[in-house]
């Protein structure tokens, strides 16, 4: 049985391992060693990280940082890379997600953390037009729009990029999107030339240490500025030390956890300790299909959005798929086409029994309602991989996880957006398939309704460079107050994107997710 580290510490802090107590978690033929961190341990870790940052990172040129992360990504895209093989063997055991799903949604997102990404984010300078309309961003295939009051607009103009020195960025990471947020936390800390401390989720303390080790393999210097450790969320003896030493605390978790951390960060701020809190709590998404795009190709892309992270990503279309009437396919025909596409894609990106059972529970509740005797239609999977339910009565209920896809027919997309207003606080991502001529107008309406991520259908669970996140803007959020609501569109030309994405989807169906041509 092999031992794996459920933590990562810089080499210079290796001696700490002798002082720490460990617990063990058995996974397949591995034993994952998890440190029981105490206050003394964490004090030494944060001070060590800060010292190392001064020594190794402050003067490191951006192109060198970019090259390191580019190499890390290329290494992870190699299916023979030992750490990737371990991750793909053990993450499914820990998360119940299938290895194919992890490869397609998580690892493919990580492969995009390359030189281009780092250079883009390290030179970020959004034009003032973003306050007026959706503005194309140089270096990214993205439109961005910012909504703010007059004073906040002025305040933003006064901020010059990275004018504040950040010594330590702490990332508290979630379990629903295993791996991606941890890697994001690590590389974004490096971009702002801060040391990075990552708290792993208890469900899955495996990926972040592996990724951090990969970074250290490529650059010993950057490896000295990262630490990955688990601790019990809310343990004040540990978090008090961490928060007091952090310039930024970013929480990606349930709303409850995010708000709990916010309460304590606000308290420290009031006592004169400046910490920027970035809070990413629970959110839901929807999928909007315009009548001009109600066709089989788009149904295939919508299927990919429904499968992503089994519907547990904060942007997943848990509210449902809303299809405008009057298109090539009627809403009920679209639902049927979606089911056909789900069956094909599910063979390449299978679902595990765990999520299958959860779906059955929810379906049981849905079909026990009397309306199921009439206005609803279910398109089941002959292989029990999903269920598409067409519902004639419009209702908003965020239950579309576990490949339980709910399709609604609507007169217009604008009607849906109007009904989303009471949910403003919980809105984040919308997968959208509309003609280019409607994009600006609908997007403006969506931004005002509270959406922050407008993504072309098929990319809901695949974040892209230059996008906003949860109403904030990555990296910017470390430096500016949260009063500005950011919204992005992740493609300039939707019609062309849909054609290109359909080709990728067909490759996935034909060759599977590990194909090098993807």
């Amino acid at each position: 049985m092999s031992n794996l580290k459920g933590y990562y510490l810089p080499k210079s802090l290796k001696s700490l391992e002798n002082e720490m107590e460990f617990s063990e978690k058995k996974i397949n033929d591995y034993t994952l060693l998890l440190p029981n961190i105490n206050q003394d341990n964490i004090t030494q870790i944060v001070s060590g990280l800060k010292e190392n940052r001064k020594k190794y990172l402050v003067d490191m040129p951006f192109p060198e940082i970019a090259k390191v992360y580019g190499e890390v990504s290329r290494t992870w895209s190699d299916n023979k890379y030992e750490k990737k093989k371990i991750a793909l063997e053990l993450l499914p055991v820990l998360t119940n997600l299938s290895p194919e799903l992890i490869e397609f949604f998580q690892f493919r997102s990580i492969y995009k953390i390359d030189e281009k990404t780092i250079n883009f984010l390290s030179n970020l300078n959004l034009p003032p037009e973003v306050f007026k309309n959706f503005t194309p961003i140089e270096g990214a295939n993205t439109f961005v729009r910012a909504y703010a009051g007059f004073r906040d607009k002025i305040a933003l103009k006064k901020i010059s990029q990275y004018n504040k020195e950040l010594e330590l960025v702490t990332y508290i990471t979630p379990s629903n999107v295993p791996g991606f947020i941890e890697s994001l936390g690590i590389f974004i800390a490096s971009i702002v030339k801060a040391s990075g401390l990552i708290k792993t989720p208890s469900v899955q303390p495996l990926f972040a240490p592996l990724y951090a080790e990969s970074v250290a393999e490529k650059s010993k210097a950057i490896g000295e500025t990262i630490a990955v450790v688990p601790w019990a969320g809310g343990d004040q003896s540990i978090e008090d030390v961490i928060f007091r030493n952090s310039n930024v605390v970013s929480v990606v978790s349930s709303t409850q956890t995010a708000m709990s951390v916010k309460g304590r960060v606000d308290e420290l701020n009031r006592s004169g300790i400046p910490i920027k809190g970035c809070y990413h709590g629970g959110k839901f998404g929807i999928e909007l299909i315009g009548r001009e795009m109600a066709n089989r190709d788009v149904a295939g892309l919508a299927a990919i959005d429904g499968i992503g992270y089994e519907g547990y990503m904060c942007g997943s279309p848990a509210f449902g798929f809303f299809v405008e009437e009057g298109g090539e396919l009627s809403p009920i025909e679209f639902a049927e086409a979606l089911a056909g596409e789900m069956e094909k894609i599910s063979r390449s990106i299978p679902q595990t029994n765990f999520f299958r059972k959860l779906r059955e529970v929810k379906i049981g509740e849905i079909i026990s309602r009397p309306e199921f005797d009439g206005g609803q239609r279910i398109f089941p999977s002959s292989e029990h991989n999903f269920a598409v339910i067409y519902e004639s009565n419009f209702n908003l209920n965020p239950i579309g996880q576990n490949r339980l896809i709910r399709v609604f027919g609507v007169k217009s997309l604008e009607e849906v957006l109007d009904k989303m207003k009471p949910w403003k606080e919980y809105l984040q991502t919308a997968g959208v398939a509309i003609g280019n001529n409607r994009l600006q107008k609908i997007s403006e309406l969506m931004g005002k309704t509270g959406f922050s991520n407008i993504r072309v259908a098929g990319t809901v669970a695949l974040p892209r460079l230059g996008e906003a996140w949860d109403g904030n803007y990555p990296v910017y959020e470390f430096f500016i107050p949260d009063k500005i609501h950011w919204t992005s569109i992740n493609a300039i030309d939707f019609e062309n994107e849909i054609k290109e994405l359909t080709k990728i989807k067909n490759k996935v169906i034909k060759d599977g997710v590990y194909s090098s041509s993807l």
Binding site: F354, E365, I367, S368, D373
Partner: protein, 437 residues
């Protein structure tokens, strides 16, 4: 007797009555299993043909009316089914609510409810027409309703009494019951206690509470939704602690009256504890007969938990009762049965007419061997008016090898816990929250 309700397939009541028998606690396990599996297959087929929801659910899973024992784990339905109605207040949408009941029920409901004012009167209306809508509630205040026709109600009483017969020596018709539960309520736990006690010893049942209306329980569980409810809630909140104190005084008076005599005292554990404390604090002699029984049900949800050892001490001190004669019961609103501690080892026994299936963290069924822990689902063929094949929000540790202390042949429970993120909806929790100040 075989009963056909609406489909072609008969519900075999003789088979169910043969299965729900105290004798089966002591028979060879394999023989009882054979009988139980036959009953489950019969019950499944009946519900498949007579229950619209269950039919659709099974079809979706690729199942039909004939089921093999190895596929039993596939027929369990989520407990959320029994609170999937969409309206906030059933009594205000009586026709819509009836449509929902029609869909989840396996027997026809041949009357048109009027929805006469309160929820309590609405439930009474159903009850008067032979359909008990016993309920339980979650912390969200959405009540779970189980439709029990006359046969299923009779089987509930039979399941309880046969389990009691297998465990305790009761002198039927002569036992005196003191119940820390209301005399009139559709809250399932209270209803069960009342009807079973009345069945065992008619005319000898004392209730510490008079009535607990469904409207009050709902208001306490979900909170007020209107200014009128806010006012009501204010007064109820003031009134309920007094009600609980009165109930304790009533129980204590009754115990004093029965000093040294055999009684059966049953209630939620927090009420038993508070009664014991009251007795000790006031120096009251409430020592009951050594052949008495004390029974609790529902756990401590909503109140601070007291360990079994501490409860034993309190019970011995306050009531003078050997702790072995204090038995805890484990049941669910969705189930017709209870699991009772045996007096020999205080181990809770799974009734022989109930199939327990545990699922692991990957939702796979766990083989029924030795000591295993998993998410609890049960198959109970004795429910005619709804499919008694249900997954729950509890996690159990079960020893399939059975009890080391008594001669029953059924599996025992080693531990019970709530699964995280599934709302607490134990009946005792409802009582605790309802009467808490």
């Amino acid at each position: 007797m075989r009963i056909t309700v609406s489909g072609d397939f008969m519900y075999d009541t003789d088979l169910i009555e043969k299965l729900v028998s105290s004798e089966n606690y002591f028979k060879k396990r394999e023989d009882v299993q054979k009988l139980r599996h036959k009953a489950i297959r019969m019950s499944h087929k009946y519900h498949f043909e007579n229950n619209k929801f269950y039919h659709d659910y099974c079809k979706l899973k690729g199942l039909n009316g004939d089921i093999k024992s190895e596929d039993f784990h596939k027929i369990v339905i989520p407990d959320g089914v029994f609170k999937s109605y969409q309206m906030e207040s059933p009594e205000k949408s009586p026709q819509e609510f009836k449509k929902w009941i029609d869909r989840i029920s396996s027997v026809p409901i041949d009357f048109t409810p009027k929805g006469m004012g309160s929820l309590e009167s609405f439930l009474q209306e159903f009850y008067s027409h032979g359909m008990l809508l016993g309920f339980s509630s979650g912390t969200t205040g959405k009540l779970t309703f189980l439709p029990r026709d006359s046969f299923t109600q009779a089987m509930l009483i039979r399941s309880y009494t046969e389990a009691i017969d297998a465990t305790l020596k009761l002198d039927k018709g002569k036992e005196k019951f003191i119940l820390g539960i209301p005399k009139k309520t559709f809250l399932q736990v209270g209803f069960n206690g009342k009807v079973v006690a009345d069945h065992i010893s008619p005319g000898n049942v004392f209730h510490a509470f008079e009535e607990l209306k469904a409207d009050i329980i709902r208001l306490r569980m979900r909170g007020p939704r209107s200014s009128k409810e806010k006012v009501m809630n204010y007064f109820i909140k003031k009134m309920l602690p007094r009600l609980e104190k009165n109930a304790i005084r009533n129980i204590v008076n009754k115990l004093e009256e029965n000093q040294g005599k055999k009684i059966v005292f049953m209630g939620p554990p927090f009420l038993i504890i508070d009664t014991a404390k009251y007795i000790l604090e006031h120096g009251i002699d409430a020592k009951i007969g050594a052949d008495s029984f004390l029974a609790s049900t529902g756990g401590f949800k909503g109140r601070s938990i007291v360990s079994r050892d501490k409860m034993n001490d309190l019970i011995e001190e306050a009531f003078g009762l050997d702790p072995k004669r204090y038995i805890d019961l484990y049941g669910m609103t969705e189930s017709n049965s209870i699991m009772i501690d045996c007096t020999e080892g205080n181990n809770k026994h799974v009734p022989p007419w109930m199939e327990v299936i545990l699922f692991d963290e990957h939702m796979e069924p766990i083989p029924q061997e030795g000591k295993v822990t998993g998410n609890y689902a049960f198959l109970e063929p004795s429910s005619r008016s709804f499919p008694g094949f249900i997954t729950t929000g509890d996690k159990l540790k079960v020893d399939y090898d059975g009890c080391p202390s008594c001669n029953k042949t059924t599996p025992i429970l080693l531990s019970i816990e709530r699964l995280p993120r599934i709302e607490s909806r134990g009946c005792s929790g409802v009582l605790a929250k309802t009467v808490a100040g």
